[in-house]
Symmetry: C2
Subunit: 310 residues, 2 copies
């Protein structure tokens, strides 16, 4: 069963009354306590799926960094402020020593950088390494995936594709950018790109019950997407559209706010790209219509949509 | 490196300013937000360590139940009220379907039974199944491991040992009992027995900087501890003292409160044992002196202390 079909089926098993303030399926859950909204998310990274060990693999510090950063990216996508996290490690016996201390150092360094507390954890023996982190935050009004309205502009931060060549271990979660956006411009919907642009835009559109027109020529293709056996533009573009692990923000904004946002963004984040890639439209939920240099495309030249675990 | 030595080393890597309201190492961390204390804990269970698959192994509903219950037990040990949890699953491709739905049903049933919300999760491919849950709760004044004072009585709930013969999958986390204790009798220190009585009592004593005298003849030995190739009393007692996964409460209380507690307990929880097994004393932190039927023992007749992952 494909990952997203399985997630849909699992969601249906959980009575709405047992879920939180918003239905399961956003970048984080919402728990309301005494009038306050808390965000709660979890992301696990697994050896052989999210990182490799051994020669040519990732140093433990970077694995620790990534384990926390993927969670930070989820909280960013909800416009949240960070509170605290817990971390469970699965470890083979032979790594239960200095290697694990280096893993923890990577987490501590990242926690310090972003100002979040590490309040507990668990260790278990496991043939393969995994690091499972759960993170809490606060948000007065979390930005969900569901708020996009027809006619909104669609934006992405940074540049897309080729993350697996290295950036997936070193990326900067877009917390500062997301806080700025949330406070100053209030995106109507937001998600972080973890499973590929097409797939994650699809999630946002589905949840918001809108479609989209996207201009391929506007997609910000990363330098890494142009490497790795994809020297030609169609392949690089495909990588930008389908590669997982970009951890950039994808959000929608009323079209009239775009000019002011772009101007403020350039001043505030001169080193981080911000690109309008299309607009939402009233149509079948989740449907994407592709354009290239102003010409309507009947279909894309590939079928792959993005990453699925199963 | 043994598990608890590794935990000590990892704790030292995390600056105190990055930890929560209490030092890492209790059953849950404490996060203070706007004058409120939140509890935050995580526990992961792993195939081959905490449960087995296949014929003779655990049905997925019980695995789901256990994954949540071990976390509930941690919150119970802090005297907390439950809020919400998130769950990350590691799954081989072939189990990503009906099997995983049954796993989720086990979690949902347990969540419903104890009244806690399931607000989010993550799925990852993994050769071996694991279920990593993180749970939040509230407590006005959490009960920590560190508050025992010399002369306190030491109590355990239920009966100990032999949990791996089945109870580790079906045990009832002592949430009701812990809430009752916390409200009415205020234990000075509390922990749940997950790594074996000797080891967990050791953690409580170490953190409280006291020692203990324990009467072996008072240890409540479970019927299961008497089975499984341990028909004689010394072996059953050893199982009760060292087997992991009891998930009973171990707590200390000023000696003068014992009579009132025992009376109230029998009325409130007639089906759950409560046994005084000894008392704390001013001595080397963590040191346990053993007695048997009023005779001082020079040492125990075995060396094993309890479960260690590494």
């Amino acid at each position: 069963m494909r990952e997203f079909r399985l997630i849909e089926r699992l969601k249906r098993l959980i009575p709405r009354s047992l879920q939180g303030g918003i239905p399961i399926g956003d970048d984080a859950g919402v728990v309301s306590v005494g009038g306050q909204s808390f965000l709660f998310t979890t992301d696990v990274i697994v050896e052989g799926v999210d990182f490799k060990l051994g020669p040519g693999g990732a140093p433990p510090e970077q694995i620790g960094r990534k384990a926390l950063a993927v969670n930070l990216s989820d909280l960013a996508a909800m416009g949240g402020r960070l509170l605290a996290f817990v971390a469970a490690f699965g470890l083979p016996k032979k790594l239960a020593g200095v290697w694990t201390e280096r893993l923890a150092k990577g987490i501590v360094g990242t926690a310090r950088q972003f100002g979040v507390r590490w309040v507990g954890g668990d260790l278990s023996r496991s043939d393969r390494v995994f690091v499972s982190i759960a993170l809490t935050g606060e948000a007065r009004r979390p930005v969900l995936r569901k708020g996009a309205r027809p006619g909104d502009s669609i934006y992405v931060t940074g540049r897309l594709g080729g993350s697996l060549l290295g950036r997936h271990l070193t990326f900067t979660p877009r917390l500062r950018e997301a806080r700025f956006l949330t406070r100053r411009f209030r995106p109507t919907a937001m998600i972080d790109i973890s499973d590929g642009f097409i797939q994650d835009l699809g999630h946002l559109l589905q949840t918001s019950r809108v479609g989209a027109h996207v201009e391929l020529n506007w997609i910000p293709v990363s330098a890494a997407a142009l490497k790795g056996g994809r020297p030609d533009r169609p392949r690089a573009l495909q990588a930008a559209l389908t590669d997982g692990e970009d951890f950039e923000l994808l959000f929608t904004l009323p079209a009239g706010r775009g000019g002011a946002l772009e101007k403020a963004w350039r001043r505030k984040f001169p080193g981080v790209g911000l690109t309008r890639v299309g607009e939402t439209v009233r149509s079948q939920a989740g449907k994407i219509v592709w354009w290239e240099k102003g010409r309507l495309l009947r279909r894309l030249w590939f079928r792959e949509k993005g990453f699925s675990h199963f």
